[in-house]
């Protein structure tokens, strides 16, 4: 099946997310869709699958104009979307998840379990996979759940499967078998739209690539006609060289060091330290334990053994409030979940960790609060119409600046940044990098967890790489370190 999207436009309020975008998916092809966060990929896919309606433009399936009024319409045309966050119900069995809301029924509405079993088994057979249908789906690995998502798509006779970051949480061998399945299905005439930030992966699996930037399609080409450099340049819209600021380093004392830090089943025997003025990058695949270490240092999760030393003294950090007193700040990877209260104003969010500093005579002093917030808004150039605008109405980049403002306001000496530029547009990214430089110049120690390899390499002074809960090594970041070195360590190899 082939799909042509022509002249698609979409805006949310004043924000034009898509402007006259063209997208052409051919029959039995794997089509990579790339672009920075906020380039408009998700919106385009949501329009293709009927979740959103375009303001203008046409969708044609096999040269016939179609209108999708909802996800059901798209599904009937054989378009299936496998979201990055899979919509599985972990407590329910594989079989129940397979047929959720599509249960096969006998007379009087009784469930036809045997029919559902045999149908599932035959799909599993064509995909060369085999899972226990009666075990809760939450017990399976992420890779297995991904395969089951594909099975679900096959069950609806999918002719086009959209995959959003399917490999983000997969091990190397799981990625192998996913690619095998994709190629397998392609041979049977299924087309894929493959959304992934990993350029090398796109080069390997895709036939064609479309690159989006700021709501436009900037490039469509055959994979065989392009290169990684060309892709990056058209994604960012300028030469990557100027994308990252230079680092000047001037280290002071060791601010934080951890030894033999262990949390059972999450990470084991972690040793590292970070100095004043230093940026220590933390790399590794999702689920490798990076975030879990940071959560433990910040007192969100308990540790089973090991020591945390701050300024040379062993400290027991029981909860975040305690960590903040020790001068630690934590920009969590999930801004909306743990970083901000979206309904609350910019000011209310910024003052949260610093409430006690604003108290005069037992009450919050409004003048102190206003000038405190104003100063931080100016310093971080948060684009907002005032302190009292709700944070949820700001762009991703400005939301992230508000989270940073919280911790800079709290006077953090050790700043942990978990995916600091995820969901942040290119301009704001650069501002965040500049801010990191400014902070280290003032002697702040930064730990930056990031899945973005170019970012890790450009910004870190040293790079710690995690693999399945172990620290594989800490690399001095000189010019010789390459992305593939880091990737080798992150997948359990040695350099």
């Amino acid at each position: 099946m082939k799909i042509d999207m022509i002249g698609i436009s979409k805006s949310f309020g004043k924000n034009h997310v898509l402007r006259y975008v063209d997208f052409h998916l051919g029959n039995a092809e794997v089509h990579a869709l790339m672009g920075e966060n906020g380039a408009g990929k998700s919106t385009l896919m949501n329009i293709m699958t009927g979740l959103l309606k375009a303001d203008a433009g046409q969708i044609m399936v096999d040269d016939k104009v179609v209108t999708f009024n909802g996800p059901k319409d798209a599904e009937e045309h054989g378009i299936s979307f496998i979201h990055q966050e899979m919509n599985n119900f972990g407590e329910m069995t594989v079989l129940e998840n397979m047929f959720l809301n599509k249960e096969l029924k006998k007379k009087f509405g009784f469930l036809d379990e045997s029919a559902m079993r045999s149908q599932t088994n035959s799909i599993f057979h064509t995909l060369h996979i085999n899972y226990d249908l009666d075990s809760p789906i939450g017990n399976l690995s992420v890779g297995a759940q991904q395969m089951i998502e594909i099975s679900k798509a096959m069950m609806t006779d999918a002719k086009v499967i959209i995959m959003d970051e399917p490999t983000a949480a997969l091990t190397t061998s799981e990625i192998r078998s996913l690619f095998e399945t994709v190629n397998n299905l392609k041979a049977r005439g299924v087309s894929f739209i493959y959304i992934s930030h990993r350029i090398e992966e796109n080069m390997e699996i895709a036939d064609k690539i479309t690159i989006m930037r700021d709501g436009h399609t900037v490039n469509e080409s055959l994979i065989s006609d392009t290169s990684i450099d060309k892709i990056v340049t058209s994604m960012v819209g300028r030469d990557i060289g100027e994308f990252y600021p230079d680092r000047h380093t001037n280290y002071g004392n060791t601010m934080l060091s951890v030894s033999h830090l262990t949390r059972v089943d999450k990470f084991k025997d972690i040793n590292f330290s970070v100095k004043s003025g230093e940026i220590l990058g933390f790399s590794g695949l999702m689920g490798s334990g990076r975030t879990e270490i940071m959560r433990a240092i910040f007192g969100i999760d308990p540790i089973d053994s090991g020591d945390i030393k701050i300024d040379g003294k062993i400290e027991k950090i029981s909860d975040p409030s305690n960590a903040i007193t020790q001068g630690i700040g934590f920009v969590t990877e999930n801004r909306k979940d743990e970083g901000l209260i979206l309904d609350f104003s910019v000011a209310e969010n910024i003052i949260m960790p610093s409430l006690q500093e604003l108290v005069k005579n037992h009450m919050i002093d409004e003048n102190t609060k206003d000038s405190f917030v104003d100063l931080l808004i100016k310093r971080l150039t948060v684009k907002t119409d005032g302190q009292n605008i709700s944070v949820g109405s700001l762009s991703g980049g400005n939301q992230q600046k508000v989270v940073l403002a919280k911790w800079i306001g709290a006077g953090s000496k050790i700043l942990i940044l978990d995916e600091p530029t995820r969901g942040v547009d290119v301009g704001a990214k650069r501002e965040i990098y500049d801010l990191m430089n400014e902070l280290t110049d003032r002697g702040v120690a930064i730990i930056m967890v990031s899945s973005d390899l170019p970012e890790i390499i450009a910004m870190s002074d040293r790079i710690a790489v995690m693999y399945e809960g172990s620290l594989m090594g800490i690399v001095d970041n000189n010019e010789k370190v390459t992305e593939s070195d880091i990737m080798t360590l992150a997948t359990g190899g040695k350099i």
Binding site: F298, S321, I341, F344, E348, I351, M352, L355, Q356, I364
Partner: protein
């Protein structure tokens, strides 16, 4: 360029005007309700009737102020009526056996705080849903009241002879009923706590996003437990006013009071999901319920119908609130 900007500004002004007006929704409802009642029976505006109305509102008001904190965190406290009954029975027993009134009442209120703390610990340390936790403690506290009183009212000469005891429920201070004064003082204290002190910011943050509040260094469990303590204190304080007005402690006192308190909070515009609302709204909500009761009595609507009307008013308020959000 200039004209474009001014259009945007006008839109912005309108928006802020709208938000101000929508914040005044409960006040508007109260005014309309008062006007309607006056139209049907002008004696509504009689000063004596108004003071009487305020006195009737005071008990629900006290409980609802505490409930506001609980609901702002996204929680609920169903045990307020039972805490009222148990602590007022305990204080009444102390008074009849010779303990000075003020001390007896203070002890009752402290016990109310402790019972609220029990709710808080079950919810924070035990991880129980507030609805279930307070539903369970509601029956426990109510049962304890029956055990303690043997199901009989507690009354005695000591109550009638104590000036302080009589004063709290039935006295006047510069012509204003004492329960009303107690309600106003409590309102001011809790208003400051909620809107001027860090405790209030923490309360809102808990209801807005508990995880984000925790990561921002707010001691979630401690704050939450204190909030249930406040609710317990306010309930038992209301209990003291009640026994003084009735000159006795009834084992079934306060039955259903949790519903009136929750209704006052919700009518006042506080979101049951937490994070949004004001204690001033709760005061207005309690006044709306009081005006409804008082007005329907004045007009002569049977108490059977009154319940139906109250329910309908709550549904209308909630539907209007939902539309406002959408």
């Amino acid at each position: 360029m200039a004209s474009v900007k001014s259009v945007e500004e006008v839109v912005k002004e309108n928006k802020s005007l709208m938000s101000k007006v929508s914040g005044l929704g409960p006040v508007l409802a109260l005014v309309v309700l008062a006007l309607l009642t006056t139209a049907m029976n002008p004696s509504f505006l009689d000063p004596n009737n108004l003071l009487n109305l305020l006195r009737q509102v005071s008990i629900n008001g006290l409980i609802a102020f505490g409930m506001t904190f609980v609901i702002l965190t996204g929680g609920i406290d169903l045990s307020v009526g039972a805490i009222l009954a148990l602590t007022s029975a305990l204080s009444a027993m102390m008074i009849t056996s010779g303990v000075p009134t003020l001390i007896a009442m203070l002890v009752g209120i402290i016990i109310g705080g402790i019972l609220g703390g029990v709710n808080g610990l079950i919810i924070t340390k035990g991880g129980a849903a507030p609805f279930i936790a307070s539903l369970a403690t509601m029956t426990i506290f109510r049962g304890a009241t029956y055990v303690f009183t043997n199901g009989n009212p507690i009354t005695g000469k000591a109550m009638n002879n104590s000036f302080v005891f009589q004063f709290i429920g039935r006295g006047y201070f510069f012509g204003i009923p004492v329960p009303v004064i107690l309600m106003i003082i409590s309102f001011i204290i809790l208003y400051i706590l909620l809107h001027k002190m860090t405790f209030g910011r923490k309360t809102y943050a808990l209801g807005g996003n508990e995880k984000a509040a925790f990561v921002s260094g707010i001691k979630v469990n401690i704050t939450k437990t204190w909030i249930y303590v406040i609710s317990g204190i306010m309930s038992s304080a209301a209990g003291m006013v009640l026994i003084s007005r009735l000159s006795s402690a009834q084992p079934d006192a306060g039955t259903g009071f949790e519903m009136d308190a929750i209704a006052a909070v919700v009518l006042g515009g506080t979101s049951l999901a937490g994070g949004r609302g004001r204690i001033f709204g709760t005061l207005i909500g309690a006044l709306i319920i009081g005006t409804l009761n008082n007005g329907m009595n004045l007009i002569g609507i049977s108490s059977f119908y009154q319940q139906i009307v109250k329910g309908i008013v709550i549904i209308i308020a909630v539907l209007l609130d939902r539309r406002k959000k959408a």
